[in-house]
Symmetry: C2
Subunit: 222 residues, 2 copies
DNA sequence: CTATTATTCAAGTGATATATTGAATACTAG
DNA sequence: CTAGTATTCAATATATCACTTGAATAATAG
């Protein structure tokens, strides 16, 4: 009597787990954590066929992780809610803490990870308000436009070296990107430090910032 | 250059997701969230063969979710850390919020779920210290022995009806069990209310209580 | 209505996961 | 060393999953 519905609950949870069991689907989720996107966009960004992308998105939707919105010809998908971001963060934390691979990979590509101590979100918000730090968003412009930390400057990581002069040198730079397992902010901090700037990473990325209820600026569409 | 390690990180996260993609493995995790257990115990509790149980446990271990400890003939498995409890909670929250099934099942068996408002952990601790409430642990005795809320009384839910007199009637009873998707505490509250007691559920269960850093009593072994 | 485009559906194939079975390994007791 | 037990390993049939292909839907423009 009491064990039957329990099994059903486990089955439901397992459906969520199954949705998270494919690297491509996790990549879709990370992209959708930035802003809503159409099927075609997601297919292009990940290099998979449209039909395949559509099928993956439907599995994610059946698991309750994303929702779709039809607008004209396009279907725009987005995360179902902040709980999904929390779930991804929890997975990343388990992965970092216990799966040797993740740490090994991060160390391999960013040997000085230990020196790149992240800054907690609340601290950044306070110090940004007092103009004590420069907040740097290293994501692509379209993601910046869909929402960013108030007062942040947007310089995609590829352009950082040639546009580095736009950042005041006397203030410390706090860089952020997509999330705890997005590596662009590591790269940015590395480059900034090489050129003599003081720089650190924001703990986590914009999705977590948003999920924590901190203010986000969204640019008005023209 | 920057997209290659990213794919690897997604693959690592997907391995965690794959580990969470089977109902039986989630059941094992929920049992292990209570206390460490041997392979044989887990097999008995879930009704699967020992060989099958062993294989599932190894997949969980490879994903970094559990760790094993050999003691004589037995191998005792336990969760790798509190992060795993957080991950399970995050999954349950997504499931409850967005997967219609979970909510439907809970409603089906506990129609008055809305009236069973849970009590936050901090509130319970305070009021238990002042003896304003009775804390009731409805899990089996062996799980109670492995760790419980300070001052809690242990009456497994099956025995609740015949032992209900052990609970003082003038104080409100706060019941808890294994976690947010464990249904025993719902059942307990239902029975208590029918008999005229005031009763509510503790928000979440013991694993979350422990993960939140709140005090836990472990009985000394003889 | 027709043509066009984004998305979804359906069928097929190769790969992967699951549960079962029987044997191998590791440890303890005597 | 031998017997007995807990766990793991290996081999197998069945089921499920991932990706491709080609066609079907649905919305828009002309």
């Amino acid at each position: 009597m009491s064990t039957n519905p329990k099994r059903d609950v486990f089955a439901s949870l397992a459906r969520v787990g199954t949705a998270l069991s494919s690297p491509i689907r996790i990549e879709f989720l990370e992209l959708l954590a930035q802003s809503e996107r159409s099927v075609e966009q997601l297919a292009g960004l990940t290099g998979t066929t449209v039909a395949n992308t559509s099928q993956h998105l439907q599995r994610l939707r059946q698991a309750g992780l994303i929702v779709g919105r039809k607008e004209g010809l396009y279907v725009f998908y987005r995360l179902a809610g902040d709980e999904v971001v929390a779930l991804l963060s929890a997975m990343a934390r388990v992965g970092e803490a216990y799966v040797a691979d993740v740490e090994r990979i991060v160390r391999l590509y960013f040997a000085q990870k230990d020196e790149l101590e992240p800054v907690p979100a609340k601290e950044v918000l306070e110090r940004a308000r007092k103009s004590l730090v420069t907040v740097l968003d290293v994501r692509p412009p379209e993601e910046f436009a869909a929402g960013h930390v108030p007062g942040a400057i947007n310089i995609p990581v590829q352009e950082l070296e040639k546009r580095i002069k736009e950042l005041p040198k006397r203030r410390e730079v706090i860089a952020y990107c997509r999330g705890p397992y997005c590596l662009m902010s590591f790269e940015a901090v590395e480059k900034l430090r090489k050129k003599g700037w003081r720089a650190r990473r924001l703990e986590n990325g914009l999705p977590e910032w948003r999920a924590a209820g901190l203010p986000v600026v969204e640019e008005a569409e023209s």
